[in-house]
């Protein structure tokens, strides 16, 4: 896992990592209420944030879970729990 578990957004405060997405980006969610999702690109100095809808965030997360299953990843349990905490 290259991404940080938590990130600070200038407006929304602390975000947590939900799942890796495509092209080196990651999905994060707001800690409070867990209802705003971001596609985050980490950069040498900070990060850029793009707000994405719930269904997109869930889709990225689903795709990542399937990939973990296929590859029998040892992190599967961690990602599954994050998925459950965020979307269930």
């Amino acid at each position: 896992m290259n991404a940080e578990r938590y990130l600070n957004h200038p407006t929304f405060g602390m975000l947590y990592l939900v799942s890796p997405a495509s092209k080196g980006r990651d999905v994060y969610a707001t800690l409070y209420a867990q209802k705003i999702f971001f596609l985050v690109t980490l950069q040498p100095r900070g990060a850029t944030f793009e707000v994405i809808p719930y269904m997109d965030a869930r889709h990225y997360s689903d795709m990542h879970l399937s990939k973990c299953k296929r590859e029998k990843s040892s992190d599967m349990g961690v990602w599954q729990e994050l998925f459950n905490q965020t979307f269930m």
């Binding site: 940080e4 578990r5 938590y6 990130l7 600070n8 957004h9 200038p10 407006t11 929304f12 405060g13 602390m14 947590y16 707001t30 800690l31 409070y32 209420a33 867990q34 971001f38 980490l42 100095r45 900070g46 990060a47 850029t48 944030f49 793009e50 707000v51 994050l82 905490q85």
Partner: protein, 243 residues
Amino acid sequence: MVTSYRGFTRFNQQRNSQMVGNSSASLPTNKTLLDVIKSLEGVSNETVDRSKTIFFPGDPAERVYLIRRGAVRLSRVYETGEEITVALLRENSLFGVLSLLTGHRSDRFYHAVAFTRVELVAAPATSVRNAIEQDASVGLLLLQGLSSRVLQTETMIETLTHRDMSSRLASFLLVLCRDFGVPGEKGVTIDLRLSHQAIAEAIGSTRVTITRLLGELKSSSLLAIDRKKITIFDPIALAKRFN
């Protein structure tokens, strides 16, 4: 922790130009609210030490503030000496907005205190008004800043609506994690030195109750406290309780 340097990009450029239709009103993708406030006429940079007052109730409401670093507490002080915290504001928060409504014709009714050492930019309300009239993008950034304050206030209202004090405290700790959290190996540490009295004043409780409830959370291994700094081991699980 990675620090962010830019806000959210809700719309892509194309959609944005379709929506707005002229370039002067497009989202200023590179400018931040801080850049805008800093460039205003009559602006001043201020550093305020912990526990020092930024403005008192009764001071003329002439300037708008933006927090560059640190935390600011807004409170009401009653004649009985009782003090109630109405907001604990994080970096990038606007406050002193009464001046925008009344244009230095009224007096402050909140007490603004530096909760940590604070760096601020302060701009005369008249300069803010002039800048909005000249450049719509300034208005848009201010609108975003104020919208974010509205959301913060609403989450605080949600927190205060919990009737049982243990839920209220847990919800408040989560708000503090969101606004002042620093991730570490054991979880997220709220980067404020919080006395039990300060927590009580923020959520309408008493010091004795807060001491008892924090003790309970500690013994259930949900958090640790070291020199008045609280570390929440699993804020995501805690947040789930209020989802």
